[in-house]
Symmetry: C2
Subunit: 199 residues, 2 copies
């Protein structure tokens, strides 16, 4: 990488870090470019040079997260397929999220609701969904191959799991009471009865 390109990558990474912190602190509705700039150690003009609106920064942030995130961040492929499946569930639906995870989940749902009317957000969440579904499918296929799982219909099972994880996110952020334990129990029962090979 040339010096210029390396510097550009550093700048982008620093902007994305600042965006993450500002988003956790302020949430989407109250976020301003100024709030992101306040978290950004380098010059504010550099930020304005790259982006015109907070939505431009946030879409770039989603895209950056998706570029950086790999299967290895979500699962340990040396784990058994059922542990891998639970790692994916834990990743979307942590059993006891810390305050920062909670803030980020709420912010992420706020960004997701922008996808209702903004094609650029929709594109990033469609990419994220494709990644989650592909990863779930790979784990299911590995588990079918090694006999951990039954010979399930992979496509329908992935659809059910992905829809459950999306529903869990919506319930957790918009319904009173902590729905996470009940959702995890419902998922556990489904996995036990429909996915895990019979003893």
């Amino acid at each position: 990488m040339s010096g210029d390109a390396a510097e550009q990558t550093d700048t982008q990474a620093a902007i994305m870090e600042a965006t993450y912190r500002a988003l956790c602190d302020h949430g989407y509705a109250d976020l301003t470019i100024q709030a992101i700039a306040d978290e950004f150690a380098k010059s504010k003009s550099l930020l304005y040079y790259h982006y015109d609106t907070k939505d431009e920064i946030l879409v770039a942030f989603l895209s950056y997260m998706l570029d950086q995130f790999t299967v290895e961040d979500a699962i340990d492929t040396t784990d058994s397929p059922d542990d891998q499946l639970w790692s994916l569930i834990d990743n979307s639906l942590p059993p006891s999220p810390d305050p920062e995870q909670r803030e980020f989940q709420v912010a992420l749902f706020e960004l997701r609701s922008q996808a209702l009317s903004d094609e650029a957000y929709r594109e990033q969440f469609t990419r994220a969904d494709r990644f989650i579904k592909d990863t779930l499918a790979d784990v299911l296929v590995a588990g079918i191959d090694d006999g951990t799982f039954r010979d399930v219909d992979v496509e329908r099972t992935v659809e059910l799991l992905a829809t459950m994880l999306d529903g869990a996110m919506l319930r957790r952020t918009t319904i009173t009471g902590d729905s996470t334990p009940a959702t995890r129990e419902a998922l556990a029962q489904f996995i036990e009865r429909q996915i895990l090979a019979e003893e």
Copy 2:
């Protein structure tokens, strides 16, 4: 009902009708009290007399819908329990929504995302969720009693179904492509394998 009370009820019903039409036409973000007033045949000052903000009207609208909506609107209790279950699913996730249903679903999701930060919205959606879960539970119990369904764990099965319906709403409105057929297929497979009594 006294003449005054009847008139008040008529006025409320007319405001709610106007709110429904304005919400379908404009969506949440672009909705104004003026747009609701334009759909309202009676005097605009009457509308302002009852409500100060569009959020006040919209929360009242959600509450009104929930007050009006009964189990009999969602299901025909003389149907078989499996038909009742599908009526509930069709109600949340129509197989081929018409344009008005689509508009209303998008608007309803916009209102739901207000529940992230607004307790009054959250309260109404929590009420709606309670209604859906209670109705699902009643249908499951009826089906277990008459032998249509297996002796499923009602609480966990209701949780899975309610989470699926919420996830379906989120996917349908924020991910590119029509996810409804795939979600319905995943639900059909779950119902067949986990809920319907074995032949």
